[in-house]
Symmetry: C2
Subunit: 224 residues, 2 copies
């Protein structure tokens, strides 16, 4: 009997890729607004290069953009960029059907969790800003296991839940980190066809483009 | 002839003490809202103690509050506290007469700067959030001199401005770090009687409770 539903967060519960791109664009616009003397499209090209070289979690993207353009007193522009970036990141919204879906699942007796890479505070922060923290029992994060989402990670989740695999469904957009390891240890898995990983083959038990029929799909899994 | 006006920021341009207190209170309220099982007034007492022990810039106040109350899974509460804290800090507003005052001073040909302890990005961040960054030529910060606001700090400012002391007015709320060192090297100084340092003796050239007559006061300094 299915009891526990595990959700990925990024591009599963909210359009994280879109928001990240918008946040970066707003940051560069803010640099121009406070007077950096460089065209927006040039800044965009530079930032793209910086993101490719460092990774996307590198915390000093805008410092690096200023350095490349040889800006002598960069503090004003960095401050403007970071403020605009954070303002955008702070106004993230869930996919429209998510809050109602979570409420329905709770009303039907399921326990809800998130399962993500990263650290617990950052994941709770996202759930709080998305306005959906209340629905979740707990967040499972790779930092606590010392292992990104993998078979080992999901085994640890089972242990913490004191559950057997058949009681759990993993729901996420990525075949490699959400679907394959969950299926490998015997959980159910639902692949969300959203964001940049929407396409490709899957070994998931079901595919969804949004969550409008998720309750029926979860109920049908046990009868397969 | 007075050309350059140097402003302190905290409790001079905006009520920083008030906002910091509100931010902390909102953070603790958010912890209660997401379900920490401790009374608000108890959390307040704990936080007060933590702030006294560590200093007010210690970045892990809320982690420490959770540790003291032996919260087993603190990530949810820390995330809620930090989000509420930053949301409050992000909606800072200047004292009501400040934007108009800055515009008037610019129209009268004065060059405006800030002179503060700390680092440049943080100060620009405040000016941007206060909506007044546009009025300022530059920020002078202790981090670049390696010396908190002092005679050495203000000498460095003069050098950067290529100015003589009589061309400068320092405007701030603190006798020790704003007024005394500025006067010592021969600048004019105006003491702002606001916030927790409002009281006490001063060697400033003038005292103000707000900035409504600041233009007349600055003009009168040269005729003293």
């Amino acid at each position: 009997m299915i009891k526990h539903l595990l959700f990925d967060i990024d591009d599963t519960l909210f359009p994280s890729t879109e928001f990240a791109e918008l946040a970066r664009k707003n940051a560069l616009r803010a640099m121009v607004e406070v007077g950096i003397n460089i065209e927006l499209h040039e800044l965009e090209r530079t930032l793209e290069k910086v993101i490719k070289e460092k990774n996307s979690n590198y915390p000093k993207h805008f410092d690096e953009v200023c350095r490349i353009h040889k800006i002598k007193k960069p503090a004003r522009y960095i401050a403007a960029a970071v403020a605009a970036y954070h303002n955008t990141k702070m106004s993230i919204l869930p996919y429209p059907e998510i809050p109602r879906m979570l409420l329905t699942l709770r009303e039907n007796g399921y326990k809800l969790y998130t399962a993500t890479n990263g650290n617990a505070i950052k994941q709770w922060d996202k759930l709080i800003r998305l306005g959906i923290a209340l629905y979740f029992e707990d967040v499972f994060v790779s930092d606590e296991v010392g292992e990104e989402k993998s078979v080992i990670f999901f085994k640890d989740v089972l242990k913490k839940l004191k559950a057997i695999p058949e009681e759990c469904v993993m729901i996420g957009d990525r075949e490699d980190s959400d679907i394959i390891p969950a299926k490998k240890i015997g959980m159910y898995a639902i692949r969300v066809r959203r964001g940049k990983y929407a396409k490709g083959k899957t070994c998931a038990d079901a595919n969804v483009r949004d969550f409008s029929n998720i309750l029926e799909i979860i109920k049908s899994l046990e009868n397969k």
